[in-house]
Symmetry: C2
Subunit: 410 residues, 2 copies
């Protein structure tokens, strides 16, 4: 079954927002065995919306439209689909009552222009939207299945899982499913990794193996299409084994086990805790760790010490050390980590000190120079890094490498 996603909204074409809805829906529909061959995006213009519909109609059975269901005059998805299919739009009394109740819930009267949101395409049915005022719609015509969904991701995502997927299952049946496993690597570049497995990448069919790089991290996504979930994983397993044989030492996690999760898993398993002290990453590392639910079980506390004063006062970094070696030095990183460990009483402590730029660089200490230290029960390790990129990239790479430095010790 071939699917296609059409994003409607001039904000997409102006580059105000990225089309994350297309990404989300593609991911979910793939799991149902729908092959998404095309994405389209078009502005709030009825003629052009109808044009992209006529293209989709020729090549796809499942056509999901996102956006353009709002109450304002530039919301034209509903009208365009009805017009394209030569169907009427009829006011739905039931939906109107629900919508009026929605506004009543906020103690407001429903503005008249919201009425257009409950105009149903002839022969279609509404898809409930508990989070917003715009219900979705589903309509079938000449073997094509049209889903109209609102643009706001928080509204759309719940509707996809709760309402679109069940309908698609009834259409597709259980004939096919697509499953993926993501291998997460660290400490190797994308090109180097591809060279290690170029033969596997060349001779792939089902499952497919797709490398992806992002900010110093690399993932390999193994995707299999089969008649059942079990069959899919039976195809994936041997390929994973083959990849692990070549790249095992770089693989730290699978699927959603990103670095902060890997750190948490390992610490929880040992019943140990970690504390942090950050300079150039300014809280980014702490934020990554505490973004994970349950992190309070292994994360004790952290310091962001931007100025030397704080490094001495809060962590006991000797003033002489700062004078002789400077704040951006391996010695300072070690002292910060050991200070954090002793003052927090945690089993482990990670420190990061460096120059994220654009300012603060000197001839000997360029932008991107970062020292990361890990203090633990069995002593302190430290490493120098020289990251390329802008301030944000350097901060992200430093934080990820700090996480990986701890993973390697655990």
């Amino acid at each position: 079954m071939r699917g296609e996603i059409i994003g409607v909204g001039t904000e997409l074409l102006l580059g105000q927002i990225a089309n994350t809805n297309a990404q989300y829906i593609s991911d979910k529909l793939a799991l149902e065995g729908v092959s998404i061959f095309y994405h389209q995006a078009v502005g709030d213009n009825q003629d052009r919306i109808k044009q992209v519909l006529s293209i989709a109609h020729l090549r796809s059975e499942i056509i999901v439209l996102t956006g353009g269901l709002g109450p304002t005059d530039d919301d034209l998805t509903r009208e365009s689909v009805a017009d394209f299919l030569n169907r009427k739009l009829e006011l739905d009394a039931n939906a109107l009552r629900k919508l009026e109740q929605f506004f009543a819930g906020y103690g407001r009267e429903m503005p008249s222009n919201n009425r257009k949101q409950v105009m149903l395409i002839e022969g279609g049915r509404f898809l409930e939207n508990p989070r917003g005022t715009a219900p979705g719609q589903y309509v079938e015509a000449d073997g094509r299945h049209y889903f109209l969904l609102p643009g706001p991701p928080t509204e759309l995502r719940a509707m996809v899982t709760d309402q679109v997927i069940p309908i698609i299952r009834s259409i597709v049946g259980q004939q096919m499913t697509i499953r993926s496993r993501v291998l997460r690597l660290f400490g190797i570049g994308e090109s180097a990794m591809e060279l290690e497995i170029s033969d596997i990448l060349k001779n792939q069919a089902n499952p497919t193996v797709a490398p992806l790089a992002s900010e110093g991290e690399v993932t390999l996504r193994i995707t299999a299409k089969a008649g059942s979930e079990n069959e899919a994983y039976a195809l994936i397993d041997p390929v994973e084994a083959q990849l692990r044989q070549r790249l095992g030492k770089y693989i730290y996690g699978i699927d959603d086990e990103i670095l902060p999760v890997a750190v948490g898993k390992r610490l929880s398993a040992r019943g140990q805790t970690v504390s942090l002290v950050e300079s150039c990453t300014g809280g980014l590392l702490a934020s990554m760790i505490t973004d994970i639910p349950g992190s309070s079980g292994y994360f004790k506390q952290s310091w962001v010490t931007y100025d030397n004063e704080a490094k001495s006062a809060q962590l006991g970094v000797p003033k002489e050390l700062l004078l002789t070696h400077g704040a951006v030095s391996e010695e300072c990183a070690r002292s910060m980590a050991e200070g954090a460990r002793s003052r927090s009483g945690s089993d482990w402590a990670i420190s990061i000190t460096g120059i994220a730029g654009p300012g603060g660089a000197t001839q000997e200490k360029p932008v991107g120079l970062v020292y990361i230290a890990v203090a633990g029960p069995d002593g302190t390790t430290a490493k120098e890094f020289r990251f390329r990129g802008d301030r944000q990239q350097i901060r992200i790479r430093a934080a990820k490498n700090a996480l990986y430095s701890l993973v390697k010790r655990l």
Copy 2:
């Protein structure tokens, strides 16, 4: 001049990544007066790539393709465009030498499959890619201008600004330009804002006014198309004045002046400093502030105190206070902020304590309950918030409201 962006890569259709390249290019081309009417995305399949090219060819003069320029067999953009235009692909000796030097720079020999990256479309020319192995290409055919760019955003973005834009300027001339101004609001919801200005939103033409909401923040983007930058802003100014008349008290910044920038600007102007202490946001607030270049000028330090022990030891929050009121209380927030201010010696201190969930809630203290305090030269203010959403949303909203709480005091 009409433009269209074609994303090539199965990873887009599998939902592995969002098409942020289309967003970036759309934004940049709009500034050059190019009207982007369509986005397309297609997988690594030559027939389907040629199909989307034939569609774009009929309706757009400027056609930008992203991705599919890599060395592997599934990189087919180059081949597909050449085939679609009935042009040969010829190995370019010059580019080959450069590419071999690129690899030599990493002390590696160039793998043979990289040779395809320097195959130039007949009549076209290369676009330099200093950050990667895949040069871009530009070729004109029957009044259509094709730009082929590599997929990795860090490589693509530099190429767009340094090479694509200059070529497009020479094509478009200075006939038209599009300029925008973004008004940043806080403390009002999107629907409430739209009701305030519904008449303006209804009767817009040039400039257009587009509301956009994201995680508790709202922006209004005023976009004008005109013969020159000055004319464009002459159209924008009166509309901005009109919007400020209605919504002025919610507007805290324009364009790129996001909350942490607004905080920094105001602190720098007063020559003052801020410190932070975070509980449920776990470093997110510090990270937002230090993400801004130059933040070391006004940001001194911060603490993340997850457990009560740390709150007392690091900030001197009285143990009795924690016992009687608990860590998630206005009293604790005030004590944390005042402790952070006195111990850091900074002019201002912000504290956040709350329950981000999913765990940690009690009957009296539900997930989303957050207290934010601001301690300053003229005393301490504190406020209770009850945020909805998941852990990530609650953390983001708490951090943004903390920033806004300080902005209001400055």
